[in-house]
Subunit: 207 residues, 2 copies
């Protein structure tokens, strides 16, 4: 009896997550309404609040799926390239590709805000580690003297820089790169930064 | 008679811009409503639409003022440092300072979107040049072989990277830098990138 009720609840949650994902894909996070999602999922408005605490928690679950898919795309790239500079470029290229192919779901990761005073739950915060974990591995090879905290800060810096270059361009901001220039400029930017890092670390420059 | 009417209209516009600026400063762009702005400015709701085409045009004028103030802050920094690497760092530091001191007005520059299909007017687009013009000057010294189009692309890339590092941190995103690390990481990041640029350009490294 309980098992059956749990299964029904899981089914409802999964239908609501799918419906919310499709709405974000088609119209973005901005106009997301509980009423539309429950209509799409074929349930009553109130059912959303039996399956999730509120609309924000539902969005976190959509973002959780998006992060997992993005993490998978990054993991595949990280597994292929071995040389740190090539790996950082491959990761950035995969990031551009994912953002371009999943524009609104990707944007929702950075646009969503909890209600004032409500913290993002720990389970979801932890999922964001996937955005920097492969950067940390490459940076550790390039800067072997850094401790863990320094590596994390460096990885956050590099991630944010790449995210900025990609984001300002994809949003079509006046000050962003034209779509045609994005990938080559981004690769050049990372290449220059790694060259500087090697120089500072007094390592052999890459062949 | 016409002069008097023009003066009245200018006064109304300036009161509405001030009221909108104060609303954005206190609550951000998200909850901005024409009704609140006109109440604050002491005029009827309809008066907004005699002074501006719509709320979006009013926001553009607030953003225009913000860009002018930001441009002035950058210009002052650019005038002080002469060596390109120091100048780029000083500009980034001024950018962080302005963003920190004008959080919501600064965010509004990047959050505001026109209604679908409505282009941002040329007069406002042109004002964004102030965000990269001082970068272009320093980059031209560092990479003298680049033509104008390449310099502009490089400046857009560097601006977006700095903007990303600052933005992801100030928004308090899980993946951003802690506030205490932002300035030192940003300075280090620019320093490393310029070192790489000098190495690639085969110039003398900075002392």
């Amino acid at each position: 009896m309980t098992a059956k009720r749990d299964a029904r609840r899981e089914d409802l949650r999964s239908r609501l997550i799918s419906a919310a994902r499709l709405r974000i894909q088609s119209s973005g996070l901005g106009g997301l309404r509980a009423r539309d999602i429950t209509a799409d999922a074929g349930c009553a408005l109130g059912a959303l609040y039996t399956a999730f605490a509120d609309l924000d928690e539902l969005v976190l679950h959509v973002n959780s799926e998006t992060l997992a898919r993005l993490g998978e795309a990054l993991r595949e790239e990280a597994a292929m390239a071995a040389e740190p500079s090539e790996k950082l470029k491959a990761l950035a290229k995969a990031y551009v590709g994912f953002a371009r192919g999943n524009r609104r779901l990707w944007a929702a990761l950075f646009e969503h805000r909890m209600a004032p005073g409500v913290p993002v739950p720990e389970w979801h915060l932890a999922e964001h580690a996937v955005l920097i974990q492969y950067l940390v591995e490459s940076l550790a090879l390039l800067s072997p003297a850094l401790d863990r905290a320094q590596l994390l800060a460096r990885a956050r810096t590099l991630f944010s820089a790449v995210h900025g270059i990609v984001g300002v361009s994809l949003e079509g901001r006046f000050i962003g790169l034209a779509a045609a220039d994005l990938e080559s400029e981004l690769m050049g930017f990372i290449g220059t930064w790694v060259t500087g890092l090697r120089q500072q670390e007094d390592l052999e420059p890459a062949k």
